[in-house]
């Protein structure tokens, strides 16, 4: 119990403590007394810079409160965190496709949430064009939280807790959908994962070094995977086919562009934290990394728009020997960011409180 309290306090300290960055980095967004967002040294500049939504500690806390609150769903049964779980890098463990209200099964695998501030487009098909509007589909889709915005805003306006929290965060009690979305973004936009072993090696941090298997895996990765899963985000954010089906049931990118050439293309997912974010692919068809690597090695279908990178040899795919698969897996595990997965700043504060009482 005491230890947990300490961890929690450390989390708050983390939030308060990062202000050591302020003034130092021009890419840190100074919120007056706190900096919650800092571009990691080995990252490019973010796309989203909290313009028009100045980051504050109270805004972040409100966003976190909302993220973990089932009040947002129609029957008050499901919060964002039901599908986006921290220990799974904010993906949904063990669920190939999302699980919404009334046990409704969606059609797509819940993606992990981190480094969203570097994304211009969201969802597997890239249909959403701004981080601030990315929660809308989940909030209103019949198969996710099944609610509507007027109802949600009404609930928040009737809650003394939220009246106070919105007042603290935005200095107004006039709650509307815009402030709800901005607050959620202050939470989701600050979910940064950049402290995996890989990052420490890249930043030449004290004592950080790949072992020989990981190093061999990294060399393979750069040769065979990095064209799409590009460092340091481990995605180039493009839409491609890696040959899951000859003709995909889910139209993917075509849903958005209305171009048959985009049928069955999906956003290249980041491979950060991939060790813990399974199941894999847009429909969650693979349970583990071994199955994924076997797919690349020998299981690939050959749709017309299969990515050209998979076409050079006699059969589609990337030939990987057992040894190479072992090496690649070892490297992929260096992308697991344990600090991020256990960061108390991103946890449900209610859970903590219940444990203390």
């Amino acid at each position: 119990m005491k230890i947990k309290l300490l961890v929690f306090a450390a989390g708050l300290l983390f939030i308060a403590g990062v202000n050591t960055f302020s003034g130092l980095a021009d890419n840190a967004f100074n919120t007056g007394d706190t900096v919650l967002f800092k571009t990691p040294e080995n990252f490019p500049s973010p796309v989203y810079t909290f313009q028009g939504n100045p980051l504050t500690l109270n805004g972040f806390k409100l966003g976190r409160e909302l993220f973990y609150d089932p009040i947002l769903s129609k029957d008050r049964s499901i919060s964002c965190a039901n599908c986006h779980q921290q220990f799974a890098a904010f993906a949904q463990l063990d669920h190939p496709v999302s699980h919404g209200v009334d046990d409704c099964l969606g059609t797509r695998n819940t993606p992990a949430l981190f480094n969203l501030a570097w994304q211009q487009e969201f969802m597997w098909d890239g249909g959403v064009n701004h981080i601030e509007v990315s929660p809308l589909n989940a909030l209103t889709s019949d198969c996710e939280m099944a609610n509507n915005l007027p109802e949600i805003v009404d609930r928040l306006k009737k809650s003394d807790k939220y009246i106070a929290l919105f007042q603290q965060a935005f200095h107004t009690t006039d709650i509307n959908s815009q402030l709800l979305l901005k607050a959620l973004t202050q939470f989701t936009g600050t979910l940064i994962s950049a402290n995996a072993k890989y990052d420490k090696v890249m930043r030449h941090e004290e004592g950080a070094q790949f072992d020989s298997e990981e190093a061999a895996g990294y060399t393979l990765f750069k040769a065979k995977c990095a064209a799409c899963h590009r460092e340091p985000l481990f995605t180039d954010l493009s839409y491609r086919s890696n040959g899951l089906d000859t003709r995909s049931d889910d139209a993917g990118r075509d849903t958005i562009t209305h171009q048959d050439a985009d049928h069955g293309l999906f956003k290249v997912p980041s491979l950060r934290n991939v060790e813990v974010s399974g199941p894999y692919m847009h429909d969650g068809r693979f349970d583990n990394l071994a199955q994924v690597l076997e797919h690349y090695n020998a299981g690939m279908a050959s749709p017309d728009n299969l990515d050209p990178l998979f076409k050079p040899a006699t059969k589609p795919g990337i030939t990987l020997s057992m040894q190479e698969q072992t090496q690649l897996t070892a490297f992929l595990k260096t992308l697991t960011d344990h600090e991020f997965l256990t960061d108390p700043a991103f946890q449900d504060t209610h859970k903590n409180n219940e444990q203390y009482e």
């Binding site: 249909g127 701004h130 981080i131 509007v133 589909n137 805003v153 959908s177 815009q178 209305h258």
Partner: protein, 256 residues
Amino acid sequence: MKKSIFLSAIVCLLAGAITAFNTIKADSGELSLNFKHVVNGVPLKLNDNSAHYANANNDEYTVSTFKYYISNITLTTTKGKDVVIPNICFLINAADPASLKQSITGVPAGKYKGISFTIGVDSARNFAGAQTGCLDPANGMFWTWNSGYIFLKLEGYSPQSTAKLHKLTFHVGGIKRQNTLRTFSHSFNKPLQIHGNEPAAISITTDAAALFKGQNLVDFAKLNSTMGGPNAVLIADNYKNGLFSITNVQQGRYEN
């Protein structure tokens, strides 16, 4: 009579800009846009099963929802200068009487030879993240899975529709790939005068039938639903001419 600044719940005002705009009050007046909805010239009645509206393909239909955005209202002075109204947008909803009269205050006094506006919401606003006022996604005019505003929405029923429950669902929007933004413009027979405190008023008739006539024949058995995309372009190309007509202009004048 004195009309104070009238804010309909769904009229959104760019707070800073409108205040600046208002500071020139002495030299400015009010313009009101009054909307009336028809189908082929007959007054539109929502959810009226006895209304036998017909499209150019002779398919019968009824209308349950008809709403749309207009934005970038621009008045052109007789000297050729464009005055852009700073309000971000107006959402007109046939089911909401308050939305049918939109008052714009602080319009620079003067003589205007023409008016134009965008049917929809411009590109910048479609990519700007969470917004409020007329652009609040709570207004039901925002696609959550394919971001961007629905510029115009007509829903209803047709016996010829092959969709579930014979529904018609025409949601028109999208800019980036299949562009459905269209512009309405009109030249006044006689210059529109804005000055003093007696508001000028423009009566606009919106003809819902414009979606289904013009360059593209719409057969409800084949086309009864659009959610952006190429089919929405067909509808927008139809209504770019004929959706709006200006039926009356009342000049503004000094009260004394």
